[in-house]
Symmetry: C2
Subunit: 228 residues, 2 copies
């Protein structure tokens, strides 16, 4: 809970249009609809958490995603229950969250996190056009390591048949961003306790080559997850 | 998609019991019900993605969580729609995912991620006992930085009144774990492309002190997220 004024932030011209579901009711100053920002968060986040309502209730599962323009792609085995439900057109929600830091206040109450998150509501569609399958497959590899999609063997007909690709439009979408240090109560500022924030980032260790690999590591020496 | 035999892994004695919803249908060799492992993943992950079915469809939102024994706690403002729904007893699903690395195969098809994730199905309950509220509040701060809960000002009566704490039992739960390198097709092993895996971890930058803070940084010099 922050003491920042709860007013909407100004939005740039190239922005998504808020709907009832994507209008933040609280901390409206943290809401963002800027297309470039939404795309950058989606591109940097490694996984999306995708939820839908099954016959046994709500299910939330992590999925690798990739963005091309205003579309988000997921893929997996045809036997995958989540993908099957998406293909069948269930309403879904996909959320990606990047934790940028820990906000350490003087009071327990004002502890928080710095984060960037994007929430998309929508209905997905199976990708059937072979050319779009090819583009999505490359994008999903490029999402792990930029440029890698062109280096590896593309899916053959059998692999394509066994894989389900779905496309979810990035349309009903909002981003939410928190940055900076704690917002403490005036009366707590005199407390003798460290307060501030602790930045976090995802870093890559040295690559571990598979048995029998003699080819050199072909990518940037450290994969910089912060591409935004 | 992995070529590993799709058989269930042996489970230790201190394990949660699988149910219909927590029995993996695919990659059963990745399923884990070991209590210690489930707890360690929950304790290390910074946020949970919590989903429920609202009147407008499924919603998935990131929440800070903390575990005490076999209970998971969430908290936030009483006006928070997700927490309000949880308090009202909607069926929910909470998933935490830690991405441990990128699995870079010789073919696009066999790219994957190394990860540890936990999925909990259940119904939450509002925490009303003041002593349990106090324990949960401390645990939620300790989840960010171990030991910090005792250093900061505890919530006063007004803050407690404005905050909703809910408890979700860790009972119907499964973990899923992937480790190691790619599992490529035999025919692809001769391809002249680097393959292997790239370990990822969350690292903390130098702490950024709030204006006016003269107290020294009181925690371990780098907060090690890998407490498991």
């Amino acid at each position: 809970v922050s003491a920042t004024p709860d007013t909407a932030a100004p939005q740039p011209d190239s922005a998504y249009s808020p709907t009832g579901r994507t209008t933040l009711r609280r901390h409206r100053e943290r809401a963002r609809y800027d297309r470039d920002l939404v795309h950058a968060i989606l591109d940097e986040a490694l996984v999306a958490h995708v939820g839908f309502t099954s016959e046994h209730g709500p299910i939330v599962l992590p999925m690798v995603h990739a963005r091309l323009g205003d579309d988000l792609y997921f893929h997996g085995a045809r036997a995958n229950a989540l993908l099957g439900a998406l293909k069948d057109g269930v309403p879904a929600c996909a959320t990606v969250t990047i934790v940028d830091g820990l906000v350490l206040a003087r009071s327990a109450f004002h502890h928080s996190m710095n984060f960037r998150c994007v929430t998309i509501f929508g209905v997905a569609t199976e990708v059937t056009d072979p050319e779009e399958v090819r583009r999505a497959s490359t994008a999903l590899v490029d999402h792990l390591v930029p440029g890698r999609g062109d280096l590896v063997r593309a899916p053959d007909d059998g692999e394509v048949r066994r894989t389900l690709f779905v496309r979810m439009p990035i349309d009903e979408v909002s981003a939410k961003v928190r940055t900076g240090g704690p917002v403490d109560e005036e009366a707590d500022l005199a407390l003798d306790v460290w307060a501030g924030h602790l930045p976090l980032e995802t870093t890559a260790g040295p690559p571990v080559a598979d048995v029998g690999v003699s080819a050199p590591w072909p990518h940037a020496s450290s994969v910089d997850r912060r591409r935004s």
